[in-house]
Amino acid sequence: MEEAATDPRTGGSTGDVVIPRWRLSVDAAACEGSGCCAGIAPSHFRLEEWISTPINEIVSPDDAVLAAAETCPAEAIRVVDASTGAPVNQ
């Protein structure tokens, strides 16, 4: 759901929408199905059969997503900026 935002640089309103979005992905080959992610961020990850998958690929920033990526024993979760592709660091 997009809405007009305040430009953080000028404080004025802007027609360009600057809402940070993250892109989530799970490396299915690396995933071990531990379920840590779905336990920490149940609104973001779901296990299908034995493999985790993001419920939504593009999400608003959420600490729980970073926590899931940090605690994944297989380091299978990637979180990047949806527009630039730059990794989001914890």
Binding site: S34, G35, A38, G39, I40, P42, E70, P73, E75, Q90
Partner: protein, 394 residues
């Protein structure tokens, strides 16, 4: 409706057999009402689908403060294991990096050399000897000590105190004494890391996280350090003799591993599935709201015990579950649990078990029991199952 309440645990475990009551309730009472020696009654859940649902569902809590069903009179403070997200997540995230698959892989070469050295020492000692004493205990203890930054030379001292984690026979006074001693011991190590900060080992990194970043409190630091030390080896040191016992008593399994070394990782998974390392279900979860499990409803406030060893033998998921098939695929066993409390040491344990098997098979191809199966003493009245001693020869 009258429900029979079953006494739990069902009985003293026998070798590696799963008590037949588990198969019975798994089939006929997937939500079975049980009463442990202390604490309130609980549901016992044994089907794979239900166990996985309970462990993976954020609506079930592990938070402390209830009259938890248990086998000892005193309350079990599980530390990290008795916490829920987000508090749990905060602490877990601090240590998670040290135990990832990738990080553990970096330890493999060193671990292989350690295994080789232990076997060399066994060979120099000469047969027969106790594999538990000479390998199964020192191997994971040394790995964990080096990871944490604890002096390996102290292992006989803290080893005795660390047993408080798995014993069900220590009196409350003795348990408290051991915990206190372990705490004092860790206190000294933590203080030393304060005087000489380092991030070369996990303990140093945790002290820095506390002092520099205030990411955990002092009690959390102490509790976490003590837990990592004890639980870090009590389980693997029991699983090693379980695996070796299986190899030495199932010649077909052993021969397959000798003939097909590439099968080793898969064989480790299968033995993890098969070996019932937890003597009984413990660490209950509490439903925070009404939850509908695949097999039935659990009401808010009710305690649920899950037995992963029983789930690992569920014929609904594992064909011929009581047969050890080293090539079993897929093998989504729950030996390391599931969900936010999924065993932190899982990747480390896997690496150690694979290394142990490969080393023993390669260096001691003639390894065999030095006693009859009947003469092997098994742990009694502990939370962890396995041989107390494993006399071997070659």
């Amino acid at each position: 409706m009258e429900r029979t309440v079953l006494k739990y645990p069902f009985g003293e475990p026998h070798r590696m057999l799963l008590d037949p009551m588990y198969a019975h309730v798994q089939e006929h009472e997937p939500l079975a009402r049980v009463q442990m020696p202390y604490g309130e009654p609980a549901w016992l859940v044994t089907r794979y689908a239900d166990v996985r649902a309970v462990l993976g569902d954020a609506r079930f809590s592990r938070a402390f403060g209830r009259d938890e069903p248990r086998t000892v009179p005193h309350a079990n403070d599980g530390g990290l294991f008795s916490m829920d997200p987000p508090g749990h997540t905060r602490i877990r995230a601090l240590v998670a990096k040290a135990f990832t698959v990738r990080r553990v892989e970096q330890l493999r070469e060193r671990t292989e050399r350690l295994a080789d050295r232990l076997v060399d020492e066994m060979v120099a000692s000469g047969p027969p000897l106790d594999l538990v004493e000479q390998f199964a205990v020192p191997f994971p203890v040394t790995v964990m000590c080096e990871l944490l930054g604890v002096p390996v030379a102290d292992r006989r001292r803290f080893g005795k105190w660390a047993s408080v984690i798995v014993s069900t026979t220590l009196s409350p006074e003795k348990a408290a004494e051991y915990r206190a001693r372990l705490g004092l011991y860790m206190r000294k190590l933590v203080d030393q890391r304060r005087r000489e900060p380092t991030d070369a080992d996990l303990l140093g990194a945790l002290v820095q996280a506390r002092d520099n970043d205030d990411r955990l409190s002092e009690p959390e630091l102490m509790h976490l350090s003590t837990t990592l030390l004890s639980v870090g080896f009590e389980t693997t040191s029991a699983e090693i003799p379980n695996f070796v016992y299986l190899l030495l008593t199932e010649p077909a399994l052993r021969q397959r591993l000798v003939d097909e070394p590439a099968l080793l990782p898969s064989a480790v998974e299968e033995m993890l599935r098969f070996s019932p390392i937890a003597a009984f279900a413990m660490f209950p979860r509490y439903a925070t709201v009404d939850v509908e499990l695949p097999s039935g409803p659990v009401r808010a406030g009710e305690a649920v015990l899950v037995h992963t060893a029983a789930a690992n033998r569920d014929p609904r998921v594992f064909a011929e579950p009581d047969v050890i098939d080293p090539g079993r695929t897929p093998n989504p066993h729950l030996a390391f649990g599931h969900g936010v409390h999924h065993c932190l040491g899982g990747p480390l344990a896997r690496m150690e078990l694979r290394t142990m098997l490969a080393t023993l098979l390669r260096h001691l191809p003639g390894l065999r029991l030095a006693v009859t199966e009947e003469e092997i003493p098994w742990k009694k009245r502990q939370l962890i199952r396995g041989p107390e001693a494993l006399p071997v020869t070659w």
